[in-house]
Symmetry: C2
Subunit: 497 residues, 2 copies
């Protein structure tokens, strides 16, 4: 024991210091921003890179991204979408082709001007998004109606130099994302694709990350500048700010004309094609952290947790340790055979209490404790991370934990939905809106459709039109929150990330 | 029929032109380099990007990479390695820390000097490799023996501006790869890791891509400059040139000292850690193309083929078409239930002959033909891509195709092994060596161990020491091919890519 204590002391001194320094030291309610950063860093999801505004993903953070990627890949593949690879460098000369679209990115573009000692004639942009590059190629690849639809997705990073304050996952100068680019023979088919993708996004975010979203359209002012229209999914975070969770754009022929993406139809007449593009980024991980985390740290939805169940053996002597470890291994094997992700924490020299805190910080959905008394009773103690509920379970029934995990997933979504409903209000009077916007939340308000009113609201309140829900797209049953003219829609206003 | 002919004509005119233009127009033997490029482009694996030296992967090319990635990920994961993410930008100031290692990359580095209109003070390098960045972070993450081993792999791209002639997959200025970086408490453990990885590389390349490799060490001259030693796997291509297929480096403490990657051991004394790094790139896809392709195009090993079996229905009237398609679908469902990747080519307006050529060009391992006569006999025609063998199979036994695919995989490896043996010679006399080196191939020759002799051989013959096979590392039973002094090893010399 002396030996183990010594180790423990060394470990605490050199590696993780005292408990106060390890855990989250601010409350989510009092200092949301600091709380968020502490969770990201202390749960070891990510760390800062040496270049300001860039982050590194540690394995626990990256595995959440891998899990999302796998889910999306399965759904994309079922929908006939395949993956490809595009280089990160785009020549400046190519960017001129659709200047309107690219102008928005100009202040954020990283420029490569030299290779080795040599200056490069045509400067190279680091990809802020790949429309121009992809469509240059698509115009070569597509010749006939037989080549359509062409549906390719790219898992890569985008680079946009952030001038504002950066925040891991939410705002960084390089971020992991996927960008899908599809080409269709008809307008109808392209518009259907836009909606199919948005549906894939919505179900994945709700089912995997347990975050409810509102889907609809962006206003003209807020849409992707290259798009005919932009559909979006938005969520309201616990601090009252809205977060854009993903967008799916109908590009119409805005790119196919300048890039000459055209095809000979069955009638042998050439037509310009119809296009879509769409993307989600690791921002989704940021949303998950904000939505579910608590004063003890991260809370992971079971579906994306790298470890779903951690088993902590509890013992005081080496002899018992062997017996308990043996049983823990048996349980692990049984659970792994049921396709669950399980870890036994047998680190020596650390107290059970220390381990409990550690796994709570990391947000592992279920902890199983097994000590000598449990062994006698052929049972284990089960502690759920999301609601701290502690129960006992017979080892014989241990595979029923799989149902427990499903329930946790459901309960987390239900709770987030409740919170989202609570954070959403209808407002009819502008004075009421202005009085309440400071508390945060989604505000449903009638709007006349004029950009002028939208801009005035933004000026007064810092709130944007986040999304015009599909069902409210033509709601003319009220009067514009700003000018009191007859409404044309009922969007959701909020201050956003 | 008239209608279908018209479509066919349009398609041929607009999309793929005449048969001569579609297929490979040079022989592999006569113009290997042109043959290779044609296969890459015409089988639609990749295409050129607008920036010289960069390529784009089309879905058929990328899916081979995805297949390799999945296999490696499973093996890495079993071996306790997890994935992470590193940004592509590395500040110039950081690179100074291990100048010797970085100096080699200097002429190839792409430099970012501006973000938007603003000049960046500390220029940013696009990652040529991530040792400096990873180890800056590792030195923060590692404090105690408990944090070891730390084993992280990164799937990303590396950027090295190529001055020499570029070639898809073999030499490009940006390439997909994985880079693994591990840290260990002891030298022995780190050296074991180097060998474990090399073994994972070897078995994966042999089992998945059906390419035999020779493993061993690089000479001092050819090793990674930051390494204590470099282990490598090398293959001999059908044109007689050697290709480096992957390397696994023992870094010793060469990086841990300048980057201060150190840990407090159980004795509470600080030690510098021991490190490894290792990588394979999409060059493996290039090797696969060269090794197995033939005059008709690509030949894919079944394990990595995006489609393993293509079913071509043959019919002359619409009525029979329905019956045949129905049977084709049944077969497809049966095969997919057996986890095989199957596609039915029911493109209208294209002749079966056209389709056969198309799928042969794309290298799909097995073609199944089903026409009215086959339907009557309840059988299908099976044509194997790698040896063009044509047989008949009862539809009742169709799942036995899975064994056929296994045999194809094995036969492809056996054939490649045979070719590799034929391309390997032992030489004792320098005059003999010089006379034969022009024909290409691996040459096993004794060597005294002096860099001077290695350099003289290179000067005279353009051949390098590609690999010192592990079993020949201390072979002192002969005389140096160049200076005739007693040998210290028996490396393989060859001209390389």
């Amino acid at each position: 024991m002396l030996h183990e204590r010594l180790i423990s002391k060394i470990f605490l001194e050199t590696s993780v210091l005292s408990k106060e320094d390890v855990g989250i030291t601010v409350s989510k309610e009092e200092d949301f921003s600091e709380w968020y950063t502490q969770v990201v860093l202390k749960a070891k999801l990510a760390d800062y890179a040496p270049v300001k505004g860039l982050i590194v993903l540690r394995p626990d953070g990256y595995s959440i991204w891998e899990s999302l990627r796998n889910t999306f890949d399965k759904k994309f593949s079922k929908s006939g979408i395949r993956n490809g690879f595009l280089p990160v460098l785009i020549p400046e000369s190519l960017l001129g082709k659709e200047q309107k679209h690219f102008a928005g990115f100009n202040p954020e573009v990283f420029w490569v001007t030299h290779s080795g000692e040599n200056e490069i004639g045509d400067r190279l942009a680091l990809r802020p998004t790949s429309e121009t590059l992809a469509y240059t190629l698509y115009s070569k690849w597509i010749q006939s109606w037989r080549d359509l639809p062409l549906k390719i997705n790219f898992w890569n990073t985008a680079l946009r130099a952030e001038i504002k304050a950066t925040k891991p996952f939410l705002r960084t100068s390089e971020f992991l994302w996927q960008e899908g680019h599809t080409v269709h023979a008809t307008k109808e088919e392209a518009e259907e694709e836009v909606m199919k993708i948005l549906e894939i996004y919505k179900t994945t975010v709700e089912e995997e990350l347990a975050i409810p979203v509102v889907t609809g359209k962006k206003s003209e002012k807020e849409k992707f500048v290259g798009a005919v229209y932009t559909t979006t999914m938005e969520s309201i975070m616990p601090d009252g700010k809205a977060l854009q969770m993903g967008t799916s754009h109908f590009l119409g022929q805005n790119f196919s004309i300048p890039f000459e993406v055209k095809f000979a139809d069955k009638d042998n007449i050439e037509h310009f094609a119809w296009q879509t593009s769409w993307g989600v980024s690791w921002r989704l991980i940021g949303a998950m952290i904000m939505m579910h985390g608590d004063e003890k740290g991260l809370v992971l939805p079971p579906k994306v947790a790298p470890i779903q169940i951690v088993i902590v053996p509890i013992y005081k002597s080496d002899e018992i340790r062997q017996k308990i470890l043996q049983k823990a291994c048996e349980i692990k094997n049984t659970l792994e055979a049921a396709d669950l992700r399980v870890h036994i924490d047998d680190r020596i020299g650390l107290t059970p209490g220390y381990k409990f805190n550690d796994w709570e910080l990391k947000g592992i959905p279920v902890r199983m404790e097994i000590g000598p008394k449990d062994l006698e009773k052929n049972s284990i103690v089960v502690v759920k991370r999301h609601n701290k509920e502690k129960t006992s379970m017979s080892i014989t029934d241990v595979t029923t934990i799989s149902q427990v995990l499903n329930n946790i997933q459901k309960e987390m979504l239900d709770k987030a939905k409740e919170q989202s409903v609570k954070s959403t209000a209808e407002v009819l009077e502008y004075s009421d809106f202005k009085a309440r916007i400071g508390n945060g939340g989604f505000f449903k308000a009638f709007w006349c459709g004029k950009q002028e009113c939208e801009e005035k609201v933004k000026e007064d309140t810092s709130a944007d039109i986040r999304v015009i829900p599909f069902e409210s797209e033509e709601d003319n049953s009220g009067r514009c929150i700003y000018c009191m003219e007859q409404s044309k829609a009922k969007p959701i206003f909020a201050r956003g990330y």
